[in-house]
């Protein structure tokens, strides 16, 4: 039997460190011992199979209980590819987010901002054959947190992706262009390379925007590639 192709390690500076003092909650939650490196096996190179019949799509978050949510309606769409430029088809994409006022429909969120009975904030779709996904939602509000004095999270949508192998598991956040809170956010800034963190900022896309309906934001994902690192050409 041939060995499965391992995933390549992340490019230097593109992933946050577990120990990031500016983000206080990391202090008691990061391992002290070095992480154990080993060659990927079938366990890491294969991943979950979600029969779509068992995991129904929730593509439109902008309507709940029969009425439109308050806030700015937006379309968030893009492609899921791997580092070798291959589309990742039929993979589950989950999102969750605060409402337009910056409040999560979650019992632990006690921010003094209104809940919206017509917004819950959970979405789930599968990519198509070309790796494309699309959600309709509302633009989430910024919200305060207690990491440091007067701390506010930039507007963001949480994303969860699976890919084809468990070592491609990706949990991330999508941000919005022009947000002044980004340069003050220790979670965003925990990614060492500026170019890498700026790839977490969606692009406004007039082509995706639907006239008299919703603004469009494009946000593409890249999952880890397999095999040896290809030679750099330039």
């Amino acid at each position: 039997m041939n060995d499965p192709l391992p995933f390549r390690p992340a490019a230097k500076g593109t992933q946050p460190l577990h120990d990031t003092p500016a983000y206080g909650s990391t202090s008691k939650r990061h391992p002290n011992a070095p992480l154990l490196a080993f060659a990927h096996t079938l366990t890491e190179t294969t991943g979950p199979r979600f029969a779509p019949a068992h995991f129904p799509a929730l593509a439109d978050l902008s309507v709940a209980r029969g009425k439109s949510a308050l806030g700015e309606r937006i379309i968030v769409a893009g492609r899921v590819m791997d580092e070798d430029g291959r589309a990742v088809p039929n993979t589950m994409v989950e999102i969750w987010q605060a409402n337009a006022a910056g409040r999560y429909d979650h019992p632990n969120d006690q921010h003094d901002a209104p809940l919206d009975p017509h917004f819950h904030g959970e979405g789930r779709v599968f990519t198509d054959a070309e790796g494309r996904y699309r959600f309709t939602t509302i633009k989430p509000g910024a919200y305060p947190w207690r990491n440091h004095p007067n701390a506010w999270r930039p507007n963001h949508i949480h994303f969860s992706l699976f890919g084809t192998g468990f070592a491609q598991r990706l949990i991330t956040q999508m941000y919005f262009p022009g947000d002044p809170l980004l340069e003050r956010d220790p979670i965003f800034l925990a990614i060492p390379e500026r170019a890498a963190r700026e790839r977490l900022i969606a692009r406004f896309d007039l082509g995706l925007t639907e006239p008299e309906w919703a603004l469009g934001y494009r946000f593409d994902f890249v999952l880890r590639g397999r095999g040896a690192t290809p030679m750099e050409n330039t």
Binding site: D3, A11, H18, S27, H54, I95, W96, T172
Partner: protein
């Protein structure tokens, strides 16, 4: 060439995508040797991580329409999680090696900027002795952090300590 998208923390409000039934991997009617997995997720001060998401993935039995091979469970107020699944068999390793029965675990929580990955093996399985990954951990006490112990019939328990004394072995994935 494109670089893989950066990870960000799952945060404290991930329960919006929580469906408790996902913790039962047998719910679509998969047949086999059913087991319960329990454990706790604990921080560097021994406090429970109440907002953790624990995910399991197993390459065996092979995933199909009746068995997703994947589960997600929340930690409760005491940091406890619980899964029902099918007991995995051995899985091919690299070369001619075989791996002892195991599951992969991913831990997500507020304060984890990217997932922590580890594995769960089963105490007393003679195949553990020849498992390449367990064999790569020289210190028996460290190796033991990956080995679940039986606590009741068909029930196995493993605590996940993110930091400090008894810290779980996590992987550079």
């Amino acid at each position: 060439m494109p670089q893989a998208t950066s990870q960000q923390t799952i945060g404290p409000y991930w329960h919006l995508i929580l469906h408790p039934e996902w913790a039962d991997l047998t719910r679509f009617g998969a047949a086999g040797e059913q087991i319960t997995l329990t454990g706790r997720v604990i921080d560097g001060e021994g406090a429970p991580i109440m907002d953790a998401a624990v995910e399991i993935w197993q390459a065996d039995p092979p995933a199909d329409a009746h068995f997703p091979g994947f589960g997600r469970a929340p930690a409760d107020d005491a940091g406890r999680f619980r899964f029902v699944t099918l007991k995995p068999g051995p899985v091919p390793g690299r070369g001619n090696a075989w791996q002892a029965p195991h599951l992969a675990l991913a831990i997500h929580a507020r304060g984890l900027l990217r997932p922590l990955f580890t594995r769960l093996y089963f105490a007393g399985d003679p195949r553990n002795e020849a498992d390449p990954l367990l064999g790569a951990i020289a210190d028996p006490a460290r190796r033991a952090t990956l080995i679940a112990t039986p606590t009741a019939a068909a029930t196995w328990h493993l605590d996940i300590r993110l930091q400090g004394a008894g810290e779980t072995v996590f992987f550079d994935f």
